[in-house]
């Protein structure tokens, strides 16, 4: 347990009515402890039923477990109390987009932008939705209804060990091209991680450009509960491999190189 979480848990034990349950729930969610976060938020909402931020977090947790209807109810509740709630507009925009309602998504995202014109997530989401509109479609491309369903399509890595739960191929805009990723609790986190990876790639490019280090080829992160290996399968296409700590980064590089080769062939096969 991190120090922050420990401190917030103690504070909540001292004062069960405290609003600290919201950052505590956020911190647990960020660590992938969805069930623990849900418990904290449900208990917190019993004492603070009017907290719009708590309902917003509850809605995001419901999305995490695939309860989209529940999430929609929560966000609608938030908007009935605060018509300019940024999180609720972002969330409802996301839900509209997922079910193919581009107009609804645009409405909510534009309202979100009016609340915070500098929110990079809203800007990126609007760009994506407007891109769909510009391509002539008023309905969004088919998107899986639940996070977990993305894992079933392991396209570029079929046959590679861990392809459905520990390997991702991501495009430059942070969208999953193939593979799947589950956190140690077994929850699908592919889309969340993919969104982060777009930023990592830009960060790596900027770093090597400014420091004149040539082209970046890989990034390794050794963490407490696993190792990550990132490389570029193709220019602008990132391959992520996650393994437990028993697999050394040098071996991950070998696996990643083989997977990258397979991904390149798969992408070439997809090109019309």
């Amino acid at each position: 347990m991190s120090d922050d979480i420990r401190a917030m848990t103690s504070e909540l034990a001292r004062d069960p009515g405290s609003l600290v349950f919201i950052p505590l729930g956020e911190a647990l969610r960020a660590r992938g402890q969805i069930e623990a976060a849900r418990k904290v938020i449900r208990a917190g909402l019993e004492r603070n039923p009017d907290s719009t931020d708590a309902h917003d977090l509850h809605a995001r947790l419901l999305v995490d477990v695939g309860d989209l209807e529940g999430a929609e109810r929560e966000w609608s509740l938030v908007l009935s109390a605060d018509a300019r709630h940024l999180g609720a507009h972002k969330g409802l925009g996301f839900l509209c987009y997922r079910r193919g309602d581009v107009d609804g998504a645009l409405d909510h995202l534009e309202l979100a932008l009016s609340v915070d014109p500098a929110d990079p997530n809203v800007l990126q989401a609007l760009q994506t939705v407007r891109g769909v509109v510009a391509e002539g479609g008023r309905s969004a491309p088919a998107v899986p209804a639940r996070h977990g369903e993305m894992a079933a399509d392991t396209g570029p890595f079929s046959g590679v060990e861990g392809a459905d739960r520990a390997m991702l191929l991501v495009d430059p805009r942070g969208r999953v091209l193939g593979g799947g990723l589950r956190n140690p609790a077994g929850i699908e986190v592919a889309e969340t991680v993919a969104a982060q990876l777009a930023g990592v790639s830009q960060e790596a490019e900027r770093t090597v450009r400014v420091l004149e280090l040539g082209e970046w080829s890989s990034i390794v992160a050794e963490a407490a509960d696993g190792n990550m290996f990132l490389c570029q399968a193709l220019p602008d296409t990132i391959l992520l491999l996650v393994r437990d700590r028993s697999v050394p980064p040098a071996r991950m590089q070998v696996i990643a190189e083989k997977a990258a080769e397979q991904a390149r062939a798969w992408i070439a096969g997809q090109t019309p």
Binding site: A30, E203, A204, G214
Partner: protein, 124 residues
């Protein structure tokens, strides 16, 4: 301001960083205030932009931390960016400082990793 104390701290940091710069192929070692991306102490060869290494590595480390968080694998304790003509390695120390090295592409990453971890341990 106690300039004597500053000098002692400076010498201590410098000695710590020397353990990293001793590794063959290392062009520079720095202590970086992780969240701010500012240089705390540096021992770099001429031509290495310490402020750029600090700001960019701090930012990359933050991004990687968020990614590792999202993937549920916990807090990264070693980072290695490999590029065609160089490499950057970083290890977070307990107080939020990052111990960073910039090196040639062919540096012995295993040795460098150990040196950085040792400095981070002493910092803690």
């Amino acid at each position: 301001m106690d300039r004597g104390a500053d000098a002692v701290t400076g010498i201590r940091f410098r000695r710590l960083l020397d353990q990293v710069t001793r590794v063959r192929g290392v062009r520079g070692a720095l202590l970086v205030a992780g969240e701010d991306g500012l240089v705390v102490a540096e021992a770099v060869m001429e031509g290495v932009r310490a402020n750029a290494v600090a700001a960019l590595t701090g930012s990359l480390a933050r991004r990687m931390r968020r990614t590792a968080d999202a993937a549920g694998i916990g807090f990264p304790h070693f980072l290695h960016l490999q590029a065609t003509t160089g490499a950057i390695c970083a290890v977070p120390a307990a107080d939020g400082t990052l111990v960073v090295a910039i090196a040639d592409a062919e540096v012995n990453v295993g040795l460098l990793r150990l040196a950085l971890l040792k400095v981070a341990e002493v910092m803690a």
